[in-house]
């Protein structure tokens, strides 16, 4: 009955619903859905930036299998997920517990912990390049305590680890807020009952808090793993456009950017890599959701 008035409007102004939705649909169609479809099509062509290209079937994908750089990118993007997701699921939860209590000044701490999220990734990247430089703050502190300087930005593996640390550092505050919202919904009776039963803080955390925020942990795991697989900026800024020593730190999205742009860009080949990125992210999402369902049953 509440809808009757609205439906009469349709007779009155038949075009206006579409006028409302048109700008949004136009932009989404032209710059998201059309590029998505054309990426799928381009992946099967030898299109280049200035050359329209022709259908080549699975040639791009066959070439991928033989391309060492592709395997390097796939390896690094996968390692990134493995290295970044566990700390991003656990640490922000501990941080949320730390800032949950309404003690004086806590709003300041919450905001301060969120600052790295707000700062642009370029700023964050350049700050960490300076911190991890051979002569930077971290090394100068190491030297002060008598340790050797470490080449964080020159060794292939240390570089990847450093980029992971930057990703975790920048993401902490974001996931902390998500956990904070979830913690607010944990019924206090559970905590009180456990406390009456004599459970200590650690025990209560494992038996009350963790089960109560489990679905949030799955959400954080899904969000952070998909984001980690698509990593670009952190590694690009720390390792440089060519991806560190001999390109060994290149990630898949860096490879997409490098092969697909410029006047000689191989749009078709880059699209094929992008398709791999799509497929893996969809699989990652399904894996996380499936793990969630299994544990529930």
């Amino acid at each position: 009955m509440a809808l009757s008035g609205i439906s009469r409007v349709r007779r009155q102004l038949p075009t206006s619903p579409w006028l409302f939705a048109a700008p949004g649909l136009l932009v989404t169609g032209a710059f998201v859905l059309y590029p998505f479809l054309s990426t799928l099509v381009n992946a099967f062509t030898d299109r280049r930036t200035l050359i329209p290209g022709q259908f080549v079937g699975l040639a791009n994908f066959r070439e991928l299998l033989q391309d060492d750089m592709f395997w390097t990118g796939l390896r690094n993007s996968t390692l990134y997920v493995l290295g970044v997701v566990p700390p991003l699921v656990v640490l922000p939860l501990l941080l949320a517990l730390l800032v949950q209590k309404n003690i004086p000044g806590i709003t300041f701490f919450r905001s301060a912990f969120y600052t790295p999220v707000v700062a642009s990734i370029v700023v964050v990247g350049l700050i960490w390049v300076w911190l991890l430089d051979d002569r930077g703050l971290v090394n100068s502190l190491l030297e002060t305590v008598g340790a050797d300087r470490v080449g964080f930005l020159s060794d292939q593996w240390l570089l990847l680890l450093s980029a992971m640390a930057v990703t975790v550092w920048k993401g902490l505050g974001y996931y902390m807020i998500i956990y904070l919202a979830a913690l607010g919904n944990v019924p206090r009776e559970l905590h009180e009952a456990a406390a009456v039963d004599g459970a200590g803080a650690v025990r209560r955390f494992m038996t009350v808090t963790v089960p109560a925020v489990r679905s949030t942990m799955v959400l954080v795991g899904a969000l952070s793993s998909v984001a980690a697989f698509k990593v670009f900026s952190e590694v690009y800024l720390l390792a440089g456009p060519s991806g560190g020593p001999a390109g060994e730190d290149t990630t898949l999205v860096m490879l997409v950017q490098r092969t697909g742009t410029g006047l000689t860009g191989r749009v078709g080949y880059a699209s094929a890599i992008a398709v791999v990125v799509f497929v893996v992210t969809v699989v990652l999402m399904l894996l996380v959701l499936r793990a969630d369902r299994k544990e529930e049953s």
Partner: protein, 302 residues
């Protein structure tokens, strides 16, 4: 102003906030040693999250004669100077880049607020054939990873002749699907009766949208505006791909360029990064309540 604002707010302020004594989230008194431990941990995390920014600020204020590589490091500049900020401006047109970023971010805020509000209203409140398809289009668009379609976006932009322009930087994200769905949820939560009353009074669909529905979702609109500004100001990958002419760079791309060209003078890079991050931190400090609400809403409503 609107009728809806008189209804009580949905979020309750926890009672503990108003009490003067120090209590936990359940209203119990917190013990002193536990409180001390909390502050120690809080300060440790504070050093880790804010420290790097302060170190960058300190580096940017150190003069040319000061050793920035000393060991042990000196945290406070011996003779603070703004000299490096002048030098950045001599080296790259940093204020032009900041202006470009400001243009892009402002345009992004306007287009996202207007476009997402209009489309969200159409999805939530209007009845017409094809509404489900339109909703589905936005949901699908939200799921498409930007990183994967960026090359196709670039070729689309080339075909439109808009690559290497600021319009080209703005267009792909100018009405985010996520924002449309956020606005849709906000409009869905409004009671129908108020619009009904306006309809009976003879208000047409535009009047109802502008005078009644829109003022009632100001909170969500603010969240969309803040995230649109931040997203555009901070974006890196897309402007990197679409802009090639240094005179059109935004601040993030300009900084990356500064770093690549003059990597050997950290003072300059530091000054540049502070110019890029300071306005954003100031904006965030003023609007942090909306930030946290926005993240919370995004996470809960998915």
């Amino acid at each position: 102003m609107s009728v809806l604002e008189k209804t009580p707010p949905r979020e309750k302020v926890p009672a503990a906030v108003r009490e003067p004594r120090i209590t936990d989230e359940h209203g119990r008194r917190v013990r002193v040693w536990e409180l001390a431990l909390r502050y120690v941990l809080l300060l440790a995390v504070l050093a880790l999250t804010i420290g790097p920014f302060l170190w960058q600020l300190s580096t940017s204020l150190k003069g040319p004669t000061e050793d920035i590589y000393s060991s042990p490091p000196t945290f406070l500049p011996g003779d603070p100077t703004l000299h490096n900020y002048e030098r950045v401006a001599d080296t790259i047109p940093v204020w032009d880049y900041a202006l470009n970023s400001l243009k892009v971010a402002t345009a992004n805020v306007v287009t996202n607020c207007v476009g997402a509000a209009l489309a969200g209203y159409a999805l939530a409140r209007l009845r017409y054939r094809g509404r489900r398809v339109a909703t589905l289009a936005f949901i699908l668009a939200m799921l498409v990873p930007v990183e994967g379609i960026i090359i196709a976006q670039f070729t689309t932009m080339r075909e439109l002749g808009l690559n290497n322009t600021l319009i080209g930087v703005v267009l792909p994200g100018c009405i985010g699907a996520m924002n449309v769905l956020l606005m849709r949820n906000a409009f869905l939560n409004l009671p129908y009766e108020i619009e009904e009353a306006a309809f009976v009074d003879g208000a047409n669909v535009w009047q109802r949208f502008l005078r009644i529905a829109l003022p009632s979702v100001k909170g969500t609109l603010a969240v969309v505006a803040i995230f649109a500004f931040m997203g555009a100001w901070d974006d890196f990958l897309w402007p990197l791909i679409v802009l090639s002419d240094p005179s059109r760079f935004t601040l993030t791309i300009g900084l990356n360029y500064l770093h690549g060209t003059f990597a050997n003078d950290e003072r300059l890079v530091a000054a540049g990064t502070i110019i890029a991050v300071a306005p954003l931190i100031a904006l965030f400090a003023c609007l942090q309540r909306y930030f946290f609400r926005g993240v919370g809403e995004g996470a809960v409503k998915g």
